[in-house]
């Protein structure tokens, strides 16, 4: 009896329904499981991020948001799972990817100038001995200019404010001229001016047919910044266009009791109806 129920269910299994149209997706992940020191960080996560859009990865602290990006980029090992980027393997797609790590993962006291850091983004192009031409330098200054940092190009990176550091990281990603930008908490602890500059740059990227995926923590800005959301809390909770997916139910399922009902109301005008 029970087994029959189960069999009926399998026909409707979510996996079967996820018939991804891969040519339209920037990043596809299947069955990603990550575990370290006996703790499961990600559990059987499927995901599908559309191209030419801005996507947010949302979830509470410790939900595996950063682990997800790191596992996708093979920075940390995963127990199982398949990753496709523009329908290519990670290795083939490497030149199309620009990754912006969390600002706090770096020792900013490192002896380097702002320009040095941006030039690091040219490594794939230059290799060990590639000559740094004036065109390259010009590109570096342009990237810095786009984030409003050109006048600080020779500043030691440790002397920058948190927001300025984050903008330098974005400039380094810009100069890589990638198709997919993966950003880990780009807006964490930055000033309002930086946030505005960065979101303008990212939106401009999107209009230039680039795909952007951000780990994001500020729920208040999700609607205005992103057109695709991915809810995660160790498992995938939901994914889809912001308009239809960024709902109080999904927020509640993702965050549990941590997110007060009042908070949800602020985020979603219809929330009072649904909670009632």
């Amino acid at each position: 009896m029970l087994i029959n129920v189960a069999l009926n269910l399998t026909a409707r299994d979510e996996r079967a329904m996820n018939n991804y149209n891969r040519s339209k997706s920037a990043l596809t992940v299947l069955d990603l499981t990550v575990s370290y020191s006996g703790k499961t960080a990600l559990f059987s996560v499927d995901a599908n991020f559309p191209i030419e859009s801005m996507s947010a990865i949302i979830g509470p602290n410790g939900a595996g948001k950063s682990s997800f990006l790191k596992a996708v980029l093979n920075i940390t090992p995963s127990l199982s799972g398949k990753v496709k980027i523009f329908d290519m393997s990670l290795k083939q797609a490497r030149e199309h990817i620009a990754y912006v790590p969390q600002r706090t993962s770096i020792d900013w006291d490192f002896p380097a100038s702002v320009l040095d850091v941006v030039k690091m983004g040219l490594y794939r192009e230059l290799g060990l001995f590639g000559w740094l031409t004036t065109a390259h330098l010009k590109a570096a200054y342009e990237a810095l200019d786009r984030v409003g940092m050109a006048n600080l190009a020779n500043r030691q990176i440790g002397q920058l404010s948190g927001g300025q550091q984050q903008r330098v990281f974005l400039a380094r990603a810009l100069i890589q001229n990638a198709k997919l930008y993966l950003l880990d908490e780009p807006f964490a602890g930055v000033d309002a001016a930086t946030e505005r500059i960065m979101i303008d740059v990212l939106k401009e990227l999107k209009t230039n047919c680039k795909s952007i995926i951000c780990v994001h923590h500020d729920l208040a800005t999700v609607r205005s910044y992103f057109d695709h959301v991915f809810f995660i809390n160790i498992e995938k909770v939901a994914e889809g266009p912001t308009a239809s997916t960024f709902t109080p139910e999904n927020l509640r399922t993702t965050y549990g009791e941590r997110l007060a009902a009042t908070h949800i109301e602020q985020l979603h005008p219809d929330a009072s109806v649904i909670t009632a």
Binding site: P101, D107, W108, L126
Partner: protein, 305 residues
């Protein structure tokens, strides 16, 4: 400044300088990667390695001992990684366990074997014998251009010069990957750099310079030179490129000053016996670091976040 100087002081000073530079160069990156104590760990395990090399080969010739030292250092690095990764113990403790255990086994192996005829002991390993690396065949400045005398230069000098050149060439070739992966490992990984291999290679290079320098000058200089000159340089500049060259300068300065002070300082004070050159070089490098700590232009942490 005559024949005496060339015979008895020139080569030790040169060897001191080369040993210091060979250690200071990789030390720059170890410090930035917060692995400064790797030099400490490696130089402690060189001693058991030399003992093993001697016990296996039965001779005191250089080759088996250097091979033994290098293999001991590799074993140590592997042990540290295992304890760190699989045992989930923080790196400092992992290093402490590994080098003290290996050092202890080296001492026991030495004590238990019949080595009374051989000049191989712990003190010698710690203090080195820089003073004894003299160029006996030299009899004046003209010896510097005589092939016959040059052929009799202490082989430590040639070996260290070779190691220095190799390190400089490697630094030149792999400057960009080394810089990127030291600064931002995650980013380096996403651009396709083999960060783990780079890290292992840096460890290997450090090991080789530690072993070669240890053979000539003992382990105090090795530990001091891995850390003090790069640390000093770090306090007076904010550019990696200049930091590396400054560290070379400070390493050379410590070696020259240290040797001269150890050899001639007591004479100036009216005492007959000279003091340990290795100890003096380490002391001078620490003195310079102390000055940089007090007056270096960039001594303070700049990170405002």
């Amino acid at each position: 400044m005559g024949v005496d100087f060339i015979q008895f002081s020139l080569t030790p000073i040169l060897i001191g300088v080369l040993a210091s530079v060979a250690c200071a160069l990789p030390g720059n990156f170890l410090i930035l990667r917060q692995q400064a104590l790797l030099g400490d760990a490696v130089s402690h395990v060189v001693f058991p390695g030399i003992v093993m090399g001697f016990l296996v080969s039965g001779t005191v010739s250089a080759t088996p001992m250097v091979m033994g030292a290098i293999s001991a250092a590799i074993i140590a690095v592997v042990c540290i990684e295992i304890i760190k990764r699989f045992g989930r113990i923080d790196p400092g403790a992992a290093m402490g366990i590994t080098f003290s255990s290996l050092f202890a086994s080296g001492v026991i192996a030495l004590e238990q074997s019949d080595t009374t005829t051989v000049h191989l002991d712990v003190e010698h390993a710690l203090m080195g014998n820089l003073e004894s690396l003299i160029w006996y065949e030299a009899n004046g400045w003209h010896s510097l251009i005589e092939p016959a005398s040059l052929a009799q230069l202490p082989h430590e000098l040639n070996r260290l010069a070779l190691v220095c050149i190799i390190i400089l060439v490697l630094l030149f070739i792999f400057w960009r990957p080394l810089k990127i992966s030291t600064f931002d490992e995650y980013f380096a990984r996403t651009t396709g750099l083999p960060t783990i291999t780079i890290s292992l290679c840096l460890t290997m290079i450090s090991t080789i310079s530690a072993v070669t320098a240890f053979d000539a000058v003992g382990c105090i200089i090795v530990i001091a030179m891995f850390i003090c000159p790069p640390a000093t340089a770090r306090l007076i500049t904010n550019r990696l490129y200049f930091q590396v060259w400054w560290s070379v300068g400070f390493a050379s300065l410590s070696a020259v000053l240290g040797y001269i002070l150890a050899g001639y300082g007591p004479l100036w004070l009216g005492v007959e016996n000279s003091v340990s050159a290795a100890g003096m070089i380490a002391t001078i490098s620490g003195f310079i670091l102390g000055l940089a700590c007090l007056f270096g232009q960039y001594r303070a942490r700049t990170n405002c976040s």
